[in-house]
C-alpha cells in the first residue's frame, strides 16, 4: 500500500488559514490502513484545526468527508453537492488522491494534509517499511521475493556490497542488508544458482525515466 504521514500542523494551517469554509477529505484505503488519513484521522485533524482557529478567535467551517477511494474519479464525484459551499479542500489522501480531487474541482484550491512516503508494508504494529519502488520490471522472481531496488541502500542488482555486516546494512545498524536476506532466502529455497546469474543494468524507462508512466488496458477502456 501507499504510506503517508500527517504534515506538521503549522504547514497545514499556513495553507488553509485564508479560507473560512473547508472540506477535509479522507480516504478509506491505504491512508486508513497506515493511520494517516482515514475517517478517524479526519476527525482528529478537524478538532485540532478548530481548536487552533478558536485560539485566534476564528470559527472556520470544516466539513468532514471520507471517500471510499480518493484516486477514483467515481468517488471524487461525491464532493459535488458540497463543493459550492466551500472555499478550499484539504485532502488527507496520498498524492494520487489529492491530484484526482484537484483535477475534478479545478476552481477550488486543494491542499495536501499528509506527506506521501512510500510503497510499503506493515512489519509490526505501528511500523511500516518501504518494500517496492515501482520499478516497472519486477525482479522478485529472481531475488527470492526480496526487492533489491527498494531495500538495498545502493539499489544494487548484484550485491552485496562491502558494507554488509552480520546481516545488516552499512547505513544503519537496524536496517537489514537486502542482499543477505536474498542470499539466505535463495539458499532456503535451494536456488543458490540464481545468485550467480549476473543481472544487467536496469532499463529506467520502465521505472519512469522516460516521463510519467501510464497503463492502457484496451480490454477495459471505453
Amino acid at each position: 500500500m501507499i504510506t503517508a504521514e500527517q504534515k506538521p500542523l503549522n504547514e497545514i494551517l499556513d495553507y488553509i488559514s485564508p479560507y473560512d469554509r473547508i472540506i477535509l477529505v479522507g480516504c478509506n484505503e491505504c491512508v486508513t490502513v497506515c493511520a494517516a488519513g482515514g475517517r478517524k484521522e479526519v476527525g482528529l485533524l478537524a478538532s485540532a484545526l478548530h481548536l487552533n482557529f478558536l485560539k485566534h478567535g476564528r470559527t472556520v467551517e470544516i466539513k468532514e468527508i471520507t471517500l471510499e477511494r480518493q484516486c477514483d474519479p467515481e468517488y471524487a464525484e461525491e464532493l459535488v453537492s458540497e463543493i459550492d459551499r466551500t472555499d478550499a479542500i484539504l485532502s488527507m489522501a496520498c498524492g494520487c488522491g489529492v491530484q484526482t480531487i484537484a483535477a475534478r474541482y479545478n476552481e477550488k484550491p486543494v491542499f495536501p494534509a499528509v506527506n506521501t512516503k512510500f510503497m510499503g508494508a506493515s512489519v509490526s504494529q505501528g511500523i511500516w517499511e518501504e518494500k517496492c519502488q515501482g520499478c516497472g520490471d519486477c525482479l522478485l522472481g529472481i531475488t527470492g521475493g526480496i526487492c533489491p531496488v527498494a531495500r538495498c541502500s545502493k539499489h544494487l542488482l548484484n550485491g552485496p556490497c562491502g558494507g554488509t555486516s552480520k546481516g545488516m546494512c552499512e547505513i544503519a545498524p537496524d536496517v537489514d542488508c537486502a542482499w543477505c536476506l536474498i542470499w539466505e532466502r535463495l539458499k532456503a529455497l535451494g536456488m543458490e544458482k540464481r545468485y550467480e546469474e549476473i543481472m544487467e543494468a536496469k532499463d529506467f524507462r520502465a521505472a519512469g525515466g522516460g516521463g510519467p508512466r501510464r497503463i492502457i488496458r484496451k480490454d477495459l477502456s471505453l
Binding site: 543494468a201 525515466g209 522516460g210
Partner: protein, 304 residues
C-alpha cells in the same frame, strides 16, 4: 595560506570573452560538439581554422541527449588550442556531487565560462534506458556556481581555493508573446540567481527575432543570439514543423530548394542573419551542427 589564484589556472588574463562582453565589444562564438568517440582530429582542425576569428568555442554536453565525449574534455582541448571554451552544464546526467566536482575540475583545466542549460529529455536521446538524475535544475545550478565561486560547496563546506566562472543562461525557443512573457520572468530569475549573460536560441524570422531580443536586452545583461546554420531542405522542414519557436517560413525553405547551390545558399542565409542581428545584440553564437568547417565561410559572408 596559498594564494588562491595560484591554485589552478589564472583566470583574468584568459577571459577575453567576459572582458569583451563587459566592455561592450561584439563577441563571436561558435558551437562545436565533442566527438562520439576519441578521434578529436575534426574538432582540433576546426578550432585551428577559426582561432583568429572567434572569441570562444561553446561546447555542448551530451547535446540532444546523445552520448558524446564530455564537455569538460572538449573544453580542455579548446584551451590547449589557445581558444577560450564555454561549456554547457545541466542536471540531467550528474547529481550535485558530480557536477560540483566537474566544476572544480573545469577551473583547474582553464575552463572559466559556463552556460547553464536544460538537458534534453532522456527519452529523446540515444540512451533511452539511462536513469535521469535531475538533481539540480537551471536555477539550482546557477546557485551552485555562485556558492562555489564564494568558496563553499552545496553542503556548506569550505573549498580550498575558489574557482572563478563567468556564467550564462539559456532561454527556451519562444513561440508567441504569451510564452515570451514567461521566458522573460524565468530569465529574470536566472539573472537574480547569478546568470551574467543570456543566450537566445535560433529564430529564422528577423522581425520576430528582433522583437524577442529587444525584450531580453532590456534585462541589462549581455544577450547573445544563436544563428543556426541550416544544412538542407529536410532540416529546414523538420525545424519548421517541430520547433514552432524557430519561425522558419515556407519562403525560406523555398529559397533553399530553388537555389542553384543549396549549400552556399545556406551559408548566405546564416551570414545575412548575423549581419541583421549585429546591431541588436552583444554577440552571436553560430551553431553549424556538424558543418563547422563551413564556419569561416559564414563569417566571411557576415563580414566578420
Amino acid at each position: 595560506m596559498m594564494n588562491p589564484t595560484l591554485i589552478g589556472n589564472k583566470k583574468d588574463e584568459q577571459m577575453t570573452f567576459q572582458n569583451k562582453l563587459s566592455k561592450g565589444d561584439f563577441v563571436v562564438l561558435a558551437e562545436m560538439n565533442t566527438p562520439k568517440g576519441v578521434d578529436i582530429s575534426d574538432l582540433v582542425t576546426n578550432v585551428r581554422h577559426l582561432k583568429s576569428r572567434i572569441d570562444a568555442v561553446v561546447i555542448p554536453d551530451m547535446d540532444n541527449g546523445v552520448m558524446h565525449m564530455s564537455a569538460l574534455a572538449g573544453g580542455s582541448i579548446i584551451r590547449q588550442q589557445g581558444l577560450e571554451p564555454v561549456i554547457h552544464i545541466y542536471g540531467r546526467d550528474r547529481n550535485q556531487m558530480a557536477i560540483q566536482g566537474d566544476m572544480l575540475a573545469a577551473h583547474v583545466l582553464g575552463i572559466h565560462n559556463l552556460l547553464v542549460v536544460q538537458g534534453e529529455n532522456i527519452i529523446h536521446g540515444d540512451h533511452q534506458n539511462a536513469k535521469p538524475v535531475d538533481d539540480l535544475n537551471e536555477l539550482d545550478l546557477l546557485d551552485m556556481v555562485q556558492s562555489l565561486v564564494k568558496g563553499t560547496d552545496l553542503a556548506g563546506f569550505e573549498l580550498k581555493g575558489r574557482p572563478q566562472f563567468f556564467t550564462g543562461c539559456r532561454v527556451q525557443p519562444i513561440r508567441d508573446d504569451n510564452h515570451l512573457e514567461k521566458e522573460i520572468i524565468s530569465a529574470r530569475a536566472k539573472i537574480d540567481a547569478g546568470a551574467q549573460y543570456i543566450m537566445v536560441p535560433p529564430v529564422f524570422d528577423i522581425a520576430w527575432y528582433t522583437h524577442i531580443l529587444k525584450q531580453f536586452t532590456s534585462l541589462n545583461v549581455p544577450v547573445i543570439a544563436t544563428v543556426f546554420m541550416l544544412k538542407n531542405v529536410g532540416m529546414a522542414r523538420y525545424l519548421s514543423i517541430n520547433d514552432p519557436g524557430s519561425k522558419l517560413s515556407e519562403e525560406l525553405i523555398t529559397r533553399i530548394r530553388k537555389a542553384k547551390d543549396r549549400e552556399t545558399e545556406c551559408i548566405h542565409i546564416a551570414g545575412e542573419m548575423i549581419k541583421e542581428l549585429k546591431a541588436e545584440v552583444e554577440g552571436i553564437m553560430i551553431s553549424a551542427s556538424g558543418w563547422e568547417d563551413r564556419l569561416p565561410a559564414i563569417l566571411d559572408c557576415a563580414g566578420l
